[in-house]
Amino acid sequence: MNLTINPIIALLIFPAGLALMAYSLVYEFVDRKLVARFQNRIGPRWFQPLADFIKLLAKEEIIPEGVNPALFISLPVVALAAALTAALYVPMFGLKPAYSFNGDLVVTLYLLSMMTLCIGLAGANTKDRFSLVGATRALTQLFSYEAPFLLAMLGPAIAIGTWNIGEINAGAATNWWFMLTQPFGFLVALVGLMGKLELPPFDAPEAETEIVAGALTEYSGRGFGLFKIGRDIELVIGLTMIASFYMGGLASPIDFLWKTLVLLLVTALLQSLFARLRIDQTVGMWWRVGVIVVLLQMMVIILGKYLGPFIQPLIGG
């Protein structure tokens, strides 16, 4: 892109600006509407997420007794900032990443984990029982899905031989879709994203019938709104990454649109199919199934990559 854009306009449109926030609200709407339709409900109107967000921003933020106020106020900001920063390194809207360097994959994945970390800290910061239980569960869940998710994202990286998201995106377009060659990695990545975003059935950290709103029970107004939109942005980034890694790369905005929306449809379907998992069931599932499957996948990739050149002459390929 050789266009020179005024920095202030650039801030508003691409990539980590208001456009991304607005876009993530649209995705929240699509997600909510799809789940509602699967559940035989009407679902929200198209502007409902935006209306929620504006309302939350306008509300008074109540700082409960017994918390560290600085931490209480700064945690949502940090979480949102981390999510927005992560957007810089991924091929948003099918365009080239705004910044990239070798190894930005790892940085992005860690930036994405900041959200859960902030939610965990936010819960532990308050004295509320529900928040404490929610924070414990959020962090427990973090430890269970984080490793498999990371390994699943490394699969295509190793296959292509670079840890630069932009190059992986370009490389994925020249290969077969990794979704077909690495199906387990794809599944683990998608389900891991749902765990990351605490979507059903992995919503034990915010199970409303047990612990009200989990770690964010004491949050209201602006803080809650920022956490919410931060999570929406993570949803968009996560879908973008999975689509670019496993679905043959994102070359254009059209590519981006249909691939991420198809993924969103699948996650919405998964959200409405299952009963909520208990936290021990979540941990058990990830470590007993997720990790092993992904490790096997990894071994196959590595063996294929390093032994391939030796085997190829033997089998006459």
Binding site: P201, A207, T209, A275, L277
Partner: protein, 393 residues
């Protein structure tokens, strides 16, 4: 079940206001990590003074009042009261009235069990099942409206019979509704017994043996899911049940899954009964005359509400107002089983175990004053009113 405010303990309060509870009740779970070590309950947030209210109204007005004890099983309360008063008055409702009473009772059971299925699924985080079962529940609600004119407090009973009749058009609608619901219920049975994630939340959770159930005084589907073969409709048939007998549904397992299976089996049984009653509806009058003043005496009347055995004690003093009406609702009997099952389970299982007995809070709240020695308290209606005003000042 006692709970001390020991600061070493980590107590999770559920209620009186909590998203899991649709009515106010207070539960304290002492947890160690996720494991519940102790559980206690406090009820009485929705005490309404209905038993006392009965004493200053005549029997016809009481019937209206008792229908409003419970919002879900309203018909069965009115039926229990009407049966008790009829027994005291020495009259019996005609067979057609008894059959219609049973018919509405079974339709009410269908609506209550479908409602419960949804609530229990929601507590387990399975909102899809919640939405679907409530959508299908609308079918039976519409049928009840078609029959009686009301969706909730049907007001089908009068003393000495019923005030509604059934015509051919309603019969057809009922049969069609039952066919649809039966098909849907087969699907729910499959979900409840085959869905892996759902079974993970219900199988071997909240186990209660038959002995425990008997010791803790569990009633209704909760007891039947533990293998206790006890159902008032079978053991002491009332209304139309001698003519249209019901099959007892028992599951020996005693866990949450068994409670789902028992209730869904009862749904099938109710569909069968509704069809049978429609096909063999007795002819004749709808009501007999009941005297305004009920002769002196006292009586128990027992019926099987959707949640279990419901007992009415009515004492008359020869006037047109009862001397005393005592209601014992099934939810009250099942609380002990909840608090016992809770210990040793995970906090995440608590909402489902709570919902497992299908609790109804507002119908089991009573006020009790304990008379010690000569310090007997006799509270008049005016005293209670003043006490209430003072209490909430």
């Amino acid at each position: 079940m006692d709970n001390s405010s020991n600061p070493e303990k980590f107590i999770v309060n559920i209620g009186p206001q909590h998203p899991a509870l649709k009515e106010p009740g207070h539960f304290e779970f002492t947890v160690d990590g996720e494991i519940v070590k102790n559980a206690s309950a406090r009820l009485g947030f929705v005490h309404r003074g209905m038993e006392k209210g009965c004493e200053s109204r005549n029997y016809t007005q009481d019937l209206y009042l008792m229908e409003r004890v419970c919002g879900i099983c309203s018909h069965v309360h009115a039926m229990a009261f009407a049966l008790g008063v009829e027994k005291l008055a020495g009259v019996q409702a005609p067979p057609r009235a008894q059959a219609i009473r049973e018919l509405i009772g079974e339709l009410e059971r269908i609506h209550s069990h479908l409602l419960w299925l949804g609530v229990a699924a929601h507590e387990g985080g399975f909102d899809t099942l919640f939405m679907f079962s409530w959508r299908d529940r609308e079918t039976v609600m519409d049928l009840l409206e078609k029959l009686t004119g009301n969706r909730v407090n049907y007001s089908a009973n009068i003393l000495g019979g019923v005030k509604i009749d059934i015509n051919d058009e309603q019969k057809d609608a009922l049969l069609k509704g039952m066919d649809y619901l039966e098909e849907r219920t087969h699907h729910y049975m499959k979900v409840v017994t085959e869905d892996e994630t759902f079974l993970g939340r219900t199988r071997n959770i909240g186990l209660m043996t038959a002995d425990e159930a008997r010791r803790l005084g569990a009633v209704g589907p909760t007891a039947r899911a533990s293998g206790l073969a006890y159902d008032v409709r079978v053991d002491s048939p009332y209304a139309g049940y001698p003519d249209f007998p019901v099959k007892l549904m028992v599951e020996p397992a005693g866990d949450l899954e068994a409670r789902f299976v028992v209730r869904i089996n009862e749904l099938f049984e109710s569909y069968r009964l509704v069809r049978e009653i429609i096909e063999h509806m007795p002819t004749g009058d709808l009501a007999v005359r009941v005297p305004r003043r009920i002769p002196e005496g006292e009586t128990f009347s027992r019926v099987e509400a959707p949640r279990g055995e419901l007992v009415y004690y009515i004492k008359s003093n020869g006037t047109d107002m009862p001397e005393r009406v005592k209601v014992r609702t099934p939810s009250l009997c099942n609380w002990a089983s909840v608090l016992t099952q809770a210990v040793g389970h995970k906090l995440a299982d608590m909402p489902m175990i709570l919902a497992g007995i299908d609790p109804c809070f507002s119908c089991n709240d009573r006020m009790v004053t304990v008379n010690r020695g000569s310090n007997a308290l006799d509270w008049s209606w005016e005293d209670l009113r003043r006490y209430g005003i003072e209490y909430y000042k």
